[in-house]
C-alpha cells in the first residue's frame, strides 16, 4: 500500500457521513493493548529489544496482509518517515503524539482505508486500533478482534489467566481494551449542560476528554467518551455500557438542539450563517478559530439550517485539513504560523466552494 496516498488525502474512513447517529457521533474506536511474552515492555526496552519486536511483528503482519478481510496492510517504520509525515499521522488520529515524538524502533501498521491501524512499540508492544464512522463500536470491536486473532496466531502474548492481557500501565490490564466515542456536542455546550452531563459520566466509570478554550468552551465542542476500567467485565460488557451511556448523551444533545431551535431560532441561524460566511470569505484563519466556526456550521447542517452546498463529508475532512501538519504537507514545505493561517483560510475557501 502507498503511504503517501494516505498522507495527502485528508479523507479518512471515519469521516463517512453515513454512519449511524452521525449527526452527533463523529467516530467510534476500539483499541486493544497487547504485549509479547518474552520481551520487556517498551517502558524498559533497549534498542535491541525494540528491533526484535519489530522483526517478530513484521512477520505476523504478513499474515494480516494476506487475510482477505483485513488486508492488504503496510508496515512503516517511523524513523523512515519525516517529522511532517508523522505529524500528519497524528492529525489523522492514526498514531499518538507520543509515538510520533520518539520514532526510533517504532512502527505503524496501516490499512489503506485507515480503518485498521496498529502502533508497534508505543506504550505497549502492540496497540491495535479500529476506527469506524458514526456509532459502530461493535464493528470496530469485530475488526480489532479479528486482527488480534491473526496476530496471536504468530505471536505469544503476555497473558495470565487471572489478570488477562498484561500491559505496561495497570489501567489497561485485563481486556487491554479502550472503547471510545468521539462526539460533537454543541447543543449541550450552548445550553450550559455539558459539565453536568460529563460529571454524571464520570460517576459511571467513563472518562470524558475535551479541549477547552477561553471561557471554558470546548475546542470545537468535540469530546471523547471512553471506558475507564478494563479489568473484570468482558469486552462485550464494557462496550455495552459505553454504548448505553453514549446513547443517553446523544439523546441529551438532540434535546438541547431541539430546544435551541424552537426557542432561539433566529439567533441560532444568525450564528450558523455568520460562521459559514467567515469560513467562505476569510483570508487569515487560526486553527482555533477554524474549529470554532466548523462547530457552528456543522450544527447548522445537522439542524437543516444550511440545506445545500456543504457536504458533511467535506466538513469532516476539514478537521484534518485545517491542522498545521496537513497544511504544510499539501503546500510542500515548512510554514511560519502566519503563513499557515493564510494557507488555511485559502484551503477552507477552496474546499467549501468546490
Amino acid at each position: 500500500m502507498n503511504l503517501d496516498e494516505v498522507l495527502y488525502n485528508s479523507h479518512t474512513s471515519w469521516m463517512d457521513p453515513s454512519g449511524p447517529d452521525s449527526d452527533v457521533v463523529l467516530s467510534a474506536r476500539v483499541r486493544l493493548a497487547r504485549n509479547l511474552e518474552d520481551v520487556v515492555f517498551p517502558s524498559r526496552m533497549e534498542e535491541e529489544g525494540a528491533q526484535r519486536v519489530l522483526r517478530m511483528v513484521e512477520r505476523a503482519a504478513e499474515d494480516l496482509d494476506r487475510d482477505p478481510e483485513l488486508g492488504p496492510v503496510g508496515l512503516f517504520r517511523l524513523d523512515d518517515l519525516s517529522n511532517l509525515d508523522r505529524q500528519v499521522l497524528v492529525e489523522k488520529h492514526l498514531i499518538s503524539p507520543h509515538h510520533a515524538q520518539q520514532p526510533r524502533g517504532r512502527a505503524v501498521i496501516l490499512r489503506q482505508d485507515e480503518s485498521l491501524c496498529i502502533m508497534v512499540n508505543e506504550e505497549d508492544h502492540l496497540r491495535i486500533q479500529s476506527l469506524t464512522p458514526g456509532m459502530q463500536l461493535d464493528g470496530a470491536w469485530r475488526t480489532a478482534q479479528a486482527a488480534d486473532d491473526v496476530l496471536e496466531g504468530r505471536l505469544n502474548y503476555a497473558f495470565c489467566q487471572r489478570r488477562g492481557y498484561l500491559t505496561t500501565c495497570p489501567t489497561n490490564v485485563g481486556t487491554g481494551m479502550r472503547g471510545s466515542v468521539m462526539m460533537h456536542l454543541p447543543g449541550l455546550a450552548m445550553v450550559g449542560q455539558a459539565r453536568q452531563v460529563f460529571s454524571a459520566l464520570g460517576k459511571l466509570g467513563l472518562a470524558v476528554r475535551g479541549l477547552y478554550g477561553e471561557g471554558s468552551e470546548a475546542h470545537g465542542n468535540i469530546f471523547q467518551v471512553s471506558n475507564q476500567t478494563s479489568l473484570g467485565p468482558s469486552e462485550e460488557e464494557i462496550l455495552r455500557n459505553l454504548k448505553a451511556v453514549s446513547t443517553q448523551v446523544i439523546a441529551h444533545e438532540r434535546n438541547a438542539r431541539r430546544a435551541l431551535l424552537s426557542q432561539t431560532r433566529l439567533q441560532l441561524e444568525d450564528r450558523v450563517w455568520r460562521a459559514y460566511g467567515i469560513l467562505l470569505n476569510a483570508r487569515v484563519m487560526s486553527s482555533e478559530e477554524a474549529i470554532k466556526l466548523w462547530s457552528d456550521v456543522r450544527l447548522g447542517v445537522d439542524l437543516g439550517i444550511i440545506t445545500e452546498g456543504v457536504p458533511v463529508e467535506a466538513l469532516n475532512e476539514l478537521l484534518v485539513a485545517t491542522r498545521p501538519g496537513y497544511i504544510q504537507k499539501v503546500v510542500g514545505r515548512d510554514l511560519e504560523p502566519a503563513q499557515r493561517d493564510a494557507e488555511r483560510a485559502a484551503l477552507i475557501r477552496h474546499r467549501l466552494r468546490r
Binding site: N35, V39, V40, F41, S43, R44, V90, E91, H93, S96, P97, H98, Q101, E123, E152, N156, Y157, A158, F159, C160, Q161, R162, R163, G164, Y165, L166, T167, T168, C169, P170, T171, V173, G174, T175, M177, R195, S199, G202, G205, A207, V208, R209, G210, L211, Y212, G213, E214, H219, Q224, S226, Q228, T229, S230, L231, G232, P233, S234, E235, E237, I238
Partner: protein, 168 residues
C-alpha cells in the same frame, strides 16, 4: 494566569477532565500543551500518569505497606516498586508477580476488581479457556441437578471429565 508547566508564558490552553466524578483542570501555554500532546483529541487522558501515581502511592501517606514495598524489585527487568510508583509503568510481565500483593490493591482501586473476565487468546490461552469453561459447566451442572434434569446432568458431567483430562 501563567502556564502551570513552565511557569513563564501565559496560559492559553485550558483543559478540563472529569474522571470518576472528580474534575481536574490544567492551564498551559501553547508550547507546553503541544509538547504534552494535549492539542490533539486522541490518545489517553492526560492525567493518567499523575493520577495513577497518586493512586499507587496514595499521596505518599496511608497506602498499606508502601514503605516496605518501595524496596521490591522485579528480578527479570530490574524495575523497583519505587520507580513503578513514580511512573505508573510496569517493565515486564514478571513485574505482575514481583509486585503482586501491592498491585492487587492498586488494581482494585483502579478497576474495582482484580480478576479478568474477558477474551482469552486462542492459542496460548488454551488452558485458561478450558478452566473457565469448566467453571461454567460446574455452575450449569448445579442448576440442572436442582431442576432434577438428570439426563442433562450426565451429559454435562461427561463434558467436564473430558475437559479435566485436557488439563492433565
Amino acid at each position: 494566569m501563567v502556564c502551570q508547566e513552565c511557569g513563564k508564558r501565559p496560559a492559553t490552553v485550558h483543559l478540563t477532565q472529569i474522571i470518576n466524578g472528580q474534575k481536574r483542570e490544567l492551564h498551559l501555554c501553547e508550547q507546553c500543551a503541544r509538547a504534552r500532546g494535549e492539542l490533539g483529541i486522541m490518545g489517553e487522558p492526560f492525567t493518567i500518569p499523575t493520577l495513577l501515581s497518586s493512586i499507587i502511592t496514595d499521596g505518599g501517606h496511608t497506602f498499606p505497606g508502601a514503605g516496605q514495598a518501595a524496596g521490591l524489585r522485579c528480578d527479570r527487568c530490574g524495575l523497583t516498586y519505587a520507580e513503578f510508583a513514580r511512573t505508573g509503568m510496569l517493565g515486564c510481565r514478571h513485574c505482575y508477580q514481583a509486585f503482586e500483593n501491592q498491585l492487587d490493591s492498586v488494581l482494585r482501586r483502579l478497576h474495582g476488581t482484580i480478576v479478568h473476565g474477558g477474551k482469552v487468546p486462542s492459542r496460548t490461552g488454551e488452558e485458561a479457556r478450558v478452566k473457565r469453561e469448566l467453571n461454567r459447566l460446574q455452575e450449569e451442572l448445579a442448576q440442572v441437578v436442582i431442576r432434577e434434569e438428570y439426563e442433562k446432568a450426565a451429559q454435562i458431567r461427561d463434558r467436564i471429565r473430558e475437559l479435566e483430562k485436557k488439563l492433565q
